[in-house]
């Protein structure tokens, strides 16, 4: 009986292991087999504290970044706004991730975004340029079409090909670091919507079923190792640009997952406590699940909740 039990466990373990391995290769390039944790949610600290707790419980950055790898950290730097206005990702969070990547042995870390407002004003006033340069990363230029190269998106429904920033094409591993915001067009902007900043032609996306095109962009085969959602300050109205700091609420939270659909779903549930919102409204999340980019069924996931 013991032997049988042992064999059973071994087979079950092997199956589970292979499934997990597949999951890891799908969603986290260069990721090792890990302890079973699909999503980490942290609440109550500064952005950097929350990030450090979350990455530690995922097993540390060294699991995702190998020595000598070229890394891209892609925050939201879309707007000519200050960190307090919460239109862009928190600069300290971005800098902490950069430092962590370099500590794990990254040969270089690049940060960029295809901004909506004038790019130099965005890089500067978001505080991100100064913060990541001090942390040792390079800000890449992303304001001209020549910095983008055409790729095909075989899984896409509407946008079968598009131009994606060369830094993403050239890197070994990348991290998607959006900020949680309300959005006039897409309803919500979180991890999947943040893909619009690696794409050159966002007008095409708006003109060809925005929600589908967001899911199409997110179907790009080179997935981020992790999606790190900044919900420290969250814009709950007049997003994604916002009018004033009156549009901002303190969320004091952070969500990390290799699964973009899951992390977006979790963030929407969190946001719903401030303003009514469902993943059906932000339908790119639903479409992302339909395209097998991840799952909205949080109940099936192993979620670690941390309070600081």
């Amino acid at each position: 009986m013991k032997r049988r039990n042992f064999l059973k466990t071994a087979v079950a373990g092997a199956v589970a292991g292979s499934v997990r391995l597949q999951h890891a290769t799908l969603f986290a390039k260069g990721r090792e087999q890990d302890k079973p944790c699909d999503l980490v949610a942290v609440m109550g600290g500064t952005p950097v504290e929350m990030y450090e707790r979350a990455i530690a419980s995922l097993g540390g950055m060294a699991k995702y970044v190998k020595r000598g790898q070229k890394v891209v950290v892609k925050p939201n730097i879309g707007w000519d706004k200050t960190p307090e206005e919460a239109a862009n990702t928190n600069p300290e969070l971005v800098a902490a991730i950069v430092r962590d990547c370099l500590k794990a042995g990254a040969s270089e870390v690049t940060v960029f975004d295809n901004t909506c407002d004038e790019w130099q004003a965005c890089y500067k006033n978001s505080g991100i340029e100064a913060a990541v340069r001090a942390a040792g990363a390079k800000m890449a230029f992303a304001h001209e079409e020549r910095y983008y190269k055409e790729v095909s998106l075989p899984k896409a429904v509407r946008m079968k090909k598009t131009k994606i920033h060369e830094a993403i094409l050239d890197c070994d591993v990348w991290f998607n670091v959006p900020i949680l915001k309300n959005h006039g067009g897409a309803k919500m902007t979180i991890a999947m919507k943040n893909y619009m900043g690696i794409v050159w032609d966002r007008r095409f996306m708006h003109a060809n079923d925005l929600q589908q095109c967001i899911a199409d962009a997110a179907s790009y085969h080179k997935c981020p190792a992790l999606h790190i959602v900044d919900a420290y300050r969250i814009m709950t109205q007049n997003g994604p640009k916002g009018k004033s700091i009156e549009d901002v609420q303190m969320g004091n939270a952070l969500f990390i997952s290799p699964d973009m659909v899951a992390v977006d779903t979790a963030a929407v549930h969190f946001f719903n406590q401030f303003k009514s919102m469902t993943i059906n409204d932000a339908s790119h999340i639903i479409r992302g699940e339909a395209m097998q980019l991840g799952t909205t069924k949080l109940e099936n996931l192993n979620i670690e909740r941390i309070r600081i």
Partner: protein, 511 residues
Amino acid sequence: MRIYQWLKWSRVALSLLILIGISWYFTGVRVQWTQGLSLLLKAQFVPAFLSSLGASLLALASILLLTVLLGRIYCSLLCPLGVFQDVVIRISHLFKTKKQRLFRYTKDPKWLRYSILSLTIIAWIVGFTLPLLLLDPYGNYGRMASHLFKPVVYTVHNGLHHIWPDTIYYQSYIAGSILGWLLPVAIFVTVVGMSAFRGRLFCNSLCPVGSFLGIISKYAAFRPVVDKSACNHCGLCGMKCKAECINSKEQQIDYSRCVACFNCTLACQPEAVRFVFSWKKQPPQEPASIPVKNNTRRAFIAAAGSMAGVAAVYRAAGGRLLTGSSSPDTIAPPGARSHAHLKQFCTSCQACVAACPTRIIQPTIKGYGLDGWMLPAINFQNGFCTYSCNRCSQVCPTSALERVSLEEKKIIRIGKARLTFRNCVVNTDRTDCGACDEHCPTKAVRMVPWGDTGLRRPQVDVEYCIGCGGCEFICPTTPKAIVVQAQSVHDTALPPPIEKQQRIQVDDFGF
């Protein structure tokens, strides 16, 4: 004498620095770096004159004082077109024999000079600003730099980008209409041709600023004066005079054309030509200068009289003799107040074009009518007006764009957004979009629930719209569903209301 060496070479060094500064301002790729150089533009004569009427007397008073003291040193030091000609003269010397490099005294083309001057002044007074626009030496240099030198600088910059791709960013050049090149090319050819063969002929025939300052410089405190007892009649002073204003045979200098370059003082071996204080010892100089003065005055009055006649006819024709009316579709940059104000004060120097970080300010050919040739207008094809930017109004040296603070600029309405919902992708495709709402800084455009479709459609609250063009720029449809309609006269929008939110304290993750 050492003092003249020092005078001349410090003038040359300073003038080159100023020329380089102004050229960099107009051609620089990184506009964030060059804004400070716009101070040099405020020290230009025509801008100083124009801004003295509405904004500040300081610049004009300083230039006039400088002229009263030192003569037309403005032309040899501050004026970019003047110093540019000095550079051309230098370069032309490389292709000339020693003998060909010498100048010869010519008669003052008084009638031409003072006719042009009075025409320019009177035309401007009656509201026809084209002559001033065409002849302002600073404005002409600005246009030359913006349209002829800038593409060269961009090419070099983008070449350097290939060597250091991580440090120097690529920036595509926005080439305007080919018609925009006509005027700068014509001026370039004229000025280069004139200066290569005849020194500062342009400044002493066509340039109204030169003619005007010449009237003052005749009475300047410090002037080059020929000491007749020391002169050995070698004639070298006249041959070195690029203004062609020294009659060495008669030992006379035409101070209305002298640009205070100090060449003559440096050339004179027996040191007979000296740059000296001449208010005290006028008597020996008087006999020579009096007839010249009278002639000038006569020419000036006669020319002014005839021009006044022309002006009367122009006025009688309702001011529309040579001018087309400005198009209601033209969007003037913030601070312009109105098309009429802009046309009265702008000499189309392109300083605002150079300052605009999103490069939406471009010269328009016909947008303001024929007399508004190449005045700046906004077009949202390449970008939109940055909400937190007022650079154009800060750099304008003529006060055609009045200095407005960032707070004022944020409510100045240069146009109004107009939505044509039947073109909107929400209507045609029944899909989400919201690009216009996303870009609107004041939330004059916002997405609202559209009936029971489950979709949200844009709605425009025009009282908050400032016409920044974010919505027009990003609108993905063809034709655009939302466009900014120009306002010939700017007004102010309501400041965007603060939408108070209840502060919510959340202690749960919600999932």
